[in-house]
Amino acid sequence: MSSTETRTPVAAAPKPALKINWVRLSPVLYTIGLFVIWELGARISGLPHTILPTPTRVFEAIFQYWSPIWKNSVQTLYTTVLGFLIAIVAGLGIGLFIGWSKTIYAGLYPIMVGFNAIPKVALVPILVIWFGIGTVPAVLTAFLISFFPIVVNVATGLATIEPETEDVLRALGAKKLDIMLKVGIPRSMPYFFGSLKVAITLAFVGSVVSETVASNSGLGQMMASAQSNFNVPLVFAGLLMLAVEGIAMYALMAWIEKRMTGWAHRSTMSN
């Protein structure tokens, strides 16, 4: 049979070479690579810097406007995190709720899908009228935009529990809530964390969009006014700060994820 035919002599065990930890390095390398491509792309495409500034100019802008960028970033981070936290609680809650019963699932899911197909920016005016401009609409928009992925993944996690695992608890006379808490939630944790990665990015989008429409501070407001002044490098500086904040939040969550769902990440494949 095929592979045995090649009677190679017994190979010596491969020596471990001087090892570079590519896994740790790669985020840095990829980021540098991205900036290089961006710089080249912007130069070659010949787009005016009022449309697509080069990273060099963007960094200049960051340097030049550091104080407002910093203040507005903190504001945006604050509203985003707040909205995100509410989304986690609500997402988990609604996810469990939907997982609870087929009737609720059938009734609530379509409505939520419909609701989420609506651009949240359309709702900001209503929030502004109710809560005035500033922090509250931004937090609420961040929340409204980001809870759905959490709901979906928690609900999917609950719906795909193997009955064999459920039976372990059912045989003990466990209540549905017990099964949810002891099996449903832990089992969907890996996907819950996955959904958080999506949710946090959406939360940023939500608060920025809301700030663009109605706020005196925050990156959204800063970018909107920079845009109207043709200060496009500053707009991109704002976008870059958003990305950095998103990545920071991601790193935090990846850290929590690693501590909480190690059991699920035993796959040997991704090396």
């Binding site: 787009l47 005016p48 810097h49 009022t50 449309i51 900001v124 005016p125 502004v128 009228i129 005035g132 401009i133 663009t212 429409v213 109605a214 706020s215 005196n216 407001q221 909107a224 006014s225 845009q227 109207s228 002044n229 043709f230």
Partner: protein, 316 residues
Amino acid sequence: AQTDIKLTLDWRFEGPAAGFLLAQDNGYFADEGLNVTIDVGNGSVEAIPRVATGAYQLGFGDINSLIKFLDEDPSQPVKAVMMVYDKPVFSVVGRRSLGITEDPKSLEGKKLGAPPPDGAFAQWPAFKEVAGIDDSAITLESIGFPVREPMLASGDVDGVFGFAFSVILNLKANGVPEDDIVPLLFADHGLNLYGNAIMVNEAFAEENPEAVKGFLRALAKGFADAVADPGAGAAAVLARNEILDINTETERLEMANEMNIKTPYVVENGFGGIDEARLAASIETLKISMGLQGNVTAADIFDAQFLPPAEERMLP
């Protein structure tokens, strides 16, 4: 062979766009051998880079923003070739019941709603200087377009920045009585700027000077038609945007004609041209309001060579 031209408007298909649409519907473009596509825009600022990059050959946008744009990077191949809004409708619109009168001084101590991308708001630094307003007690609230008029209607702010005719009509739609609305036009209080103009991509203009000329000729006819028969203009708009209300758009078009287009200067000198001195003066004004570095002169901004003779540009 027809020359293909892509034109970007400053905004959506609404009353003031009637001149463009009539030029097309009445076949003026076709007569000049042009195949024109008219696309909607997203504000009179965004049209500029669209033209500068050559994505659009021609565009309709704010000349003040164009000055700022070219001041930032004078190498950009874009120029204004025809003035449309001889007088801009940059304004603060307030409500009499909230204490705002025709006197700019009445703005002092008030709370004003300002959408950051708004063209009127951009001129605020210059306006407050020429009008001698002390802004130390004025609160500026950064609000977006969707909430601008509702917030004024509900009294959350005392006045808002904006284009007079839009704001007035929108306030009426929000249930504010007409006599409570006070538009403070910057132009009436010493701010002598130009408004929206036709811009061209210079590379295109160099290669197709005849096409540009023909376009402007056709456009002048279109705008003349829109002034002559606003009802027909509004109908042309509605053919492209069914959701509008014919009366509102007629009103909007009439207001634009009256306030922006058919100014005394235009009646005298014809539609589309400029007064070099006035443009130069407005560049000086913009140094205050937009922080120009002084990289451009009036000649860098406006190129009159494609305009048809003045007698072809007279409005009815």
